[in-house]
Subunit: 480 residues, 2 copies
Amino acid sequence: MKPKLAGLGFNLLIIKVLLKFNFQNRNTLVKMSLELTKDIFEALLAAVEQKNASYIRHTLEDMHPEDIAEILYEMDTEPCIYVFEVLDKEVCAEVLAYIDEDTRSEFLENFSPEQIAMWVNLIDSDDAADILQPMPLRLREKTLAYVEAEKAAHIEDLLSYSEDSAGGLMAKELIRAQANWTVVRAIEEIRRQAAKVQRFYSLYVVDEHNILLGRVSLKQIIISADHTLIKDLYEEDMVAVKTYTSIEEVSDLMQKYDLEAIPVVNARNELVGRITIDDVVDVITEKAEQDRQIMSGITDDVDEDDSIFQLTRARLPWLVIGMFGGLLGARFMGFFEKDLALVPAMAFFIPLITATGGNVGIQSSSIILQSLANRSSIFQGNYWQRLLKVLLVAMINGLVISLIVLGFAWFVNHSLRLGLTVAIALFFVVILASMMGTITPLVLHAMKINPAVASGPFITTANDLLGLAVYFSTAHFLYN
Amino acid sequence: MKPKLAGLGFNLLIIKVLLKFNFQNRNTLVKMSLELTKDIFEALLAAVEQKNASYIRHTLEDMHPEDIAEILYEMDTEPCIYVFEVLDKEVCAEVLAYIDEDTRSEFLENFSPEQIAMWVNLIDSDDAADILQPMPLRLREKTLAYVEAEKAAHIEDLLSYSEDSAGGLMAKELIRAQANWTVVRAIEEIRRQAAKVQRFYSLYVVDEHNILLGRVSLKQIIISADHTLIKDLYEEDMVAVKTYTSIEEVSDLMQKYDLEAIPVVNARNELVGRITIDDVVDVITEKAEQDRQIMSGITDDVDEDDSIFQLTRARLPWLVIGMFGGLLGARFMGFFEKDLALVPAMAFFIPLITATGGNVGIQSSSIILQSLANRSSIFQGNYWQRLLKVLLVAMINGLVISLIVLGFAWFVNHSLRLGLTVAIALFFVVILASMMGTITPLVLHAMKINPAVASGPFITTANDLLGLAVYFSTAHFLYN
């Protein structure tokens, strides 16, 4: 595994590792944090060098696969391969599921399709599809040939859905029950499938054509008498989504109705999979992160560990766009060179004007983003009344700021005319920037573009230009 | 219930309502979206006016409580009270849990403590504590007097924890099992407690002193033979948190290890509660929203529906701070009035300088925020190497932008000296803003202040001043 931090090395790696807490030793801490220091890490590296398989197994196999993945991130590829050779194959398979896509793809090039298939057999179909999805088609086909038939079919099905849809997020593993079964029969089915389905909270009830009818919780199964019919137990009131439902909608629904899992049906309402909340939590986190990056003017999903080239490529585009905005502003001010030569102090307030416009615009768009995110609280239509409210808030804010600035310019700069110019311009800048910050995300949303763009550098640049135009027009008017 | 949109009215309210899908009618859509138009809503209002209880019950009781809450938001207080009088009390209790705190507190003033206690009895202790928490102490005590003893004790316990800790987020409802029980005995316990605990996925295994030992999943209970001992079934490898663990850490742990629930223990490792993933999802969403607001320079948690006063109060502080930053910039530029009078074109590039500094600073802090959010991927120490990397990226970005600007100033403005001034200043601004954007969030984080502040208007303002200082110093140096 190529270390993500290649070339930077590390001093002290602190990873919280959960140790199993002991039945005998009941007074220990429930969750223990192990500081994996350089020493322990190097002992592990030495064990790899000395091919001390039992030490590696002993150290790693008690850890959560996610923690093992983090340790492997700090190793070179060779030691990682050795670790995968000695560790229990089920542990390896789970670790693979936790490694990020790019690193995993590169790492798996070191193994045969047969080997990869062995791990794929041991994990849920959604994780398996994630592993196979980025592979070259030939390698994917070769690997699938070694995967057991049912799982291979599941994976091929999952690979056919868009990554942004419920179909792309779901797992095929779930437990079906027929309406005419008894509780005992359902329990038999659970026993039969328990090894295949890692976690489940409900049985999904289907008819003979696999059409979804409802769900029975495990709790209901446990508390019901053995010969109760599923028909009499199951809830019909339930939320299901279609394979083509967007993952945003899935996440909104699960969040709104506090669901731990949601079944997925195809166009014929046949039950084809289910999505669990842990996958949706990842979607929610990614979406928030993506929005923040858009607001910060970063084009790609980069982080500190990425290469200098990747970081530059993600950052430069918006910087260049902002720069051209600035140059455009410079051109525009060129028209007012004479005014500036006459009253150089006019230049002093340029940053005040542009910064205020930017701040107001971002505040406004942020409030609209919030409304758009909590879709439920949006009342459709009524745009005029919403804008009226935005206008009123802007007028109050604009008035307060303008009056302070007027006072400052008057008393400190002793120039009533300049003070008036700045104050009047500022008032209108606040109003215009509020309007732009409010309308832009709504328009973007209607155009199905992520409205978070409206809080990014593009709008800040546009607001700068708007502010300059208002300021210099006001000045030109008042000084001539 | 006071409508949140008071005074603005509404045109067309679209709410997605999940209808139960029918066993008989198996070809209908699984999830149906009902557009609740003005007509349907007015029919409901008319039913309230005519005291048509059966129509209201029929229309609302099939809906999810969350959907009912949304409809009530659109009504005045009087009709809401009537709806609560006629609806099934369990439905009312659940609806209450979905209403936001402020609206709920106001609404509950219309009911007697006895009435409130009846609803509190019907919901989980964590939701109940949320309802009682904002009440005046006297009313809270009066209400608790009517709540059944065990639940009242639970609620009082929960109210004693900070809202930001695991203790404040947990519910008391959970199912305990003793290690020496058989599966049959555990199932009896589940049956006994099933009505009290709404949803559960595991039994928590404790010793005779209520010390947490491990967990058994419901799946394990179902698939195990009746006389298996819990001792032989339960997992010791588990994650638990302390009552004082911060909710951020709880959310990180549950996200990292894909947990649907996490047990909470006190300082003596006694099991005192558990937190379910749906509550944590809310925490994650709120945190993302809060970060976005901080980045946008909004001080309070406001949304579009809030009053003009609330909106102004949340927005004005940062605007005023930004304004003083702008005035400080104006004062600073005052020192260069002579230079500006000599070369008015110097002013043209002020927005370019400040905007670039702002953009670069926010990009840099955003990348650090990402590292801080994915705590696991941070390698401690090594600050110098991280800064070196930031410096290299900044130098590349700065060089590209400076060269473009130099070309522009040269060819378009025909001024090599001005072009050089702007280009050199820009280069250093990019580097300094990168450094500031990188270091500020790290320092804030170390000081336990939310590092998202570093992407907000405060840093933008500071970057503006920095940019101006660099620009005018460069100009002064090159022109004198």
